[in-house]
Symmetry: C2
Subunit: 277 residues, 2 copies
């Protein structure tokens, strides 16, 4: 199995691809207005950093209980933080968008964000033309949609799988129902993979290419995080390690040349120490 | 500063380059005899793995107090372990070489080992043709000698620096004296950089290219290990982090395009947890 090390990207996650692409494709007039997002995780961090690089102002709406390390990361890039109760994040971002005339940069359900995430699979096809299988984590579906778009355009024979936490099997449900299904908040260590639903736009890309969802438990994810650190020296966050969890536990029998995307590496130090002890 | 991530190599260190190259250049008759080395660290692990890949038998002489994790790593690759008191390692390897007609694969002072280590700088020049400065850790000098050979042959304008623990400043002494100087055992967390001396062969390559040694303290190395893990998610062993320690503490003012080699990532879990807490 080959590993695509997106946890080594700037901001420690593939999210930089989509955030940078989306903001870089804004007009000068739009960039002068500033951008807003309500992701408290890697996407929020990526929007703050991309905004700095591209000379615009970013407002990141975060829950009041956001970890200090994430707040500091965003502040270091000059991002403006607005903290509200978790359930008010989306409505607050929408209000700020209107009141302050900001441009929204959503975490996944947006064509330019998906375009950015599609470059990950582009690099995989460049680096490893013989690839036959690509597995990515799936939460809202930005990475899997971008991967699907690239594979459909350039090498449709590649099998693409999305791996999700069993506690929040949104892709499984969407593939069964034929449309995204809304899920209640789920408790899982894969905290980057639990938006309430797959995006309706991302699902349009995904459904054309992805035949199967793979589900992994928190116990399996924990084993993968520990394996990646102890055996390979890689610090990968639980959400980023689900592809390796799937393979380690036999949920997919690799045939040919299989690539698993490690999507991010930002993990609370105490949780990481506990998982890898 | 760019980082050359040798800690992500097989066996977690650049040592695989030299061990594999040296064993691959043996004749069939030599490979049929088997190889021996007395390094208990990354070189021993690399020799065991390269021997397995190239179909020969490896005997690794290790001190009786070698960490269990290193013993297991070597055993996993089918290496034969002979444990003796630390001070008897070299003489035991020499005795085994004679008694069992084994071929020695020394850790650094050997032309084919240096040839293998030279491929690290070759990749740097390929990946980053605009490089102006390369820093590598130095212990016995294999990596720095290989780097010097590559730079002398392909881009002599590159400034090459060796970084060593202040407690065992063998390159500083050798450059001052004009020849390798023997050092007593030094106590430093950079436990991969304390052979008794720079090699006489490695120094011949180094002296032609390297103008300056940089010394870093254990405190500076500890800061670098913590920085690399917390900010970049990289697990690097203390010996492998000395280049970043030198830059973080202003021992070298980078001009142009500077590359620091992270030479290895194998570190005792308890020490690592303590350094990164």
């Amino acid at each position: 199995m080959w590993l695509k090390c997106e946890h080594l990207q700037p901001v420690g996650a593939f999210k930089m691809r989509g955030a940078y692409t989306a903001i870089s494709r804004l007009s000068d007039a739009e960039r002068a207005r500033g951008v807003v997002t309500h992701s408290s995780g890697n996407h929020g961090h990526a929007v703050a950093y991309a905004a700095k690089l591209l000379g615009t102002h970013a407002v990141i709406v975060m829950p009041t209980n956001a970890p200090q390390v994430k707040i500091e990361g965003i502040k270091r890039h000059g991002g403006e933080i607005v903290q509200v109760p978790r359930e008010d994040r989306e409505s607050t971002a929408l209000r700020l968008e209107r009141e302050r005339n900001l441009v929204p940069v959503p975490p996944y359900d947006h064509a330019d964000v998906i375009l950015g995430q599609s470059t990950c699979a582009l690099e995989i096809l460049d680096d490893l033309p013989q690839v036959t299988t690509i597995m990515t984590p799936i939460g809202g579906g930005g990475l899997l949609a971008g991967t699907s778009a690239t594979v459909a355009a350039l090498k449709p024979s590649v099998q693409v799988y999305g791996v999700e936490p069993a506690a929040s099997a949104k892709l499984t449900a969407a593939l069964a129902e034929g449309h995204p299904v809304h899920f209640a908040f789920a408790d899982t260590i894969a905290d980057g993979l639990i938006p309430p639903s797959i995006g309706s736009l991302t699902f349009e890309y995904i459904r054309r290419v992805v035949k199967e969802a793979i589900r992994v438990t928190d116990e399996e994810i924990a084993v993968a995080v520990k394996f990646l650190f102890q055996k390979m020296g890689l610090r990968v966050e639980p959400s980023g390690a689900v592809t390796v969890a799937a393979l380690l536990h036999g949920h997919l029998k690799p045939t040919g040349t299989t690539v698993g995307v490690l999507s991010g590496g930002n993990v609370d130090p105490e949780l990481f120490a506990r998982l890898t002890a």
